[in-house]
Symmetry: C2
Subunit: 150 residues, 2 copies
DNA sequence: GCTTGACCTTCCCATGATGGGAAGGTTTAG
DNA sequence: CTAAACCTTCCCATCATGGGAAGGTCAAGC
């Protein structure tokens, strides 16, 4: 098997045909060779590259990170330090996102804990979202040229 | 102050003018009254509604959730149970996302721990992303009509 | 009265990864 | 020859947010 078309490469690599074309247009993979009719042709090397991308995506790397990882992967001389630095930065971003989400979840969890959740209409969750306190705080900073429009 | 224009409402509510227009087009807020010249006019009630939306966004609710929360907020008779159910569902989704991210972070963290990160070129992080093992697994399932294209 | 600057309006575009789907060409089996 | 299963490119949608252009409006200062 020297060459295969896109859906076969998709099955082998685990990357959808749609995304293979996308990665090509994004420059993560070189433009595929074409048949006379214009069909893309892939080799096993291409499939490996695609699978690499799929695994990198699975651990959350974005397009630009992957571009760098691919470049480091190709370069047999690169110091492992460069790869590790990229991974550590990415991990830190992940942890920051996790921390943000946990803060949100804690807030929500707290609100939920205070809501009896039965038939009665009073609800601390809505009360908290409606809280007027913070709304007027930002108002002091503006210097409106006029108090009303029109 | 009976009415104000959009930038003032933005300052008071903490929602950008851009997003106020967006929420209007999305139907989260009623279409604003207009001056003769077509300028939008807002009341303090509108500002409260906008601030409500801002706080709901801050705890991660999406547009459709907020639409329901606003409707529950307006309805004085609603049972707190309905609000709580919405919040609990949202919290569960948040927790699921957090769990996903944590799994990714753990994997990455593990890889990083195995990488010496110095000048040498051997790097378990890249090795793992390049791992051939999983790549060929999916291949057995397909029944290619032809082995090669062209 | 005219200019200036700070507003306002609508419309289009971009993000990032992914997929849906249309319109139309190609290949191969039957 | 036809039908099915491919392939191609192009456009659109997600989700919330903002940037920016083109053009209209308003208040203030001269």
């Amino acid at each position: 098997m020297v060459a295969m078309n896109i859906s076969h490469a998709a099955k082998l690599s685990g990357v959808s045909a749609k995304m293979i074309r996308h990665y090509e247009s994004a420059g993560l993979i070189p433009a595929a060779a074409r048949t006379g009719a214009g069909y893309r042709l892939y080799t096993l090397d291409d499939v490996h590259r695609l699978a690499f991308i799929r695994r990198a995506r699975a651990v959350g790397f974005g397009t630009e990170d992957i571009r760098q990882l691919l470049s480091l992967w190709q370069n047999r001389q690169r110091p492992a330090r460069d790869v590790k630095r990229l991974a550590v930065e990415h991990l830190q971003q992940l942890q920051a996102r996790i921390a943000d989400l946990e803060a949100i979840a804690d807030t929500l969890s707290h609100l939920i804990g205070h809501c009896h959740g039965d038939e009665r209409p009073d609800c601390p969750i809505l009360d908290s979202l409606a809280a007027d306190s913070a709304a007027s705080a930002a108002a002091r900073k503006d210097t409106p040229r006029r108090k009303k429009a029109q």
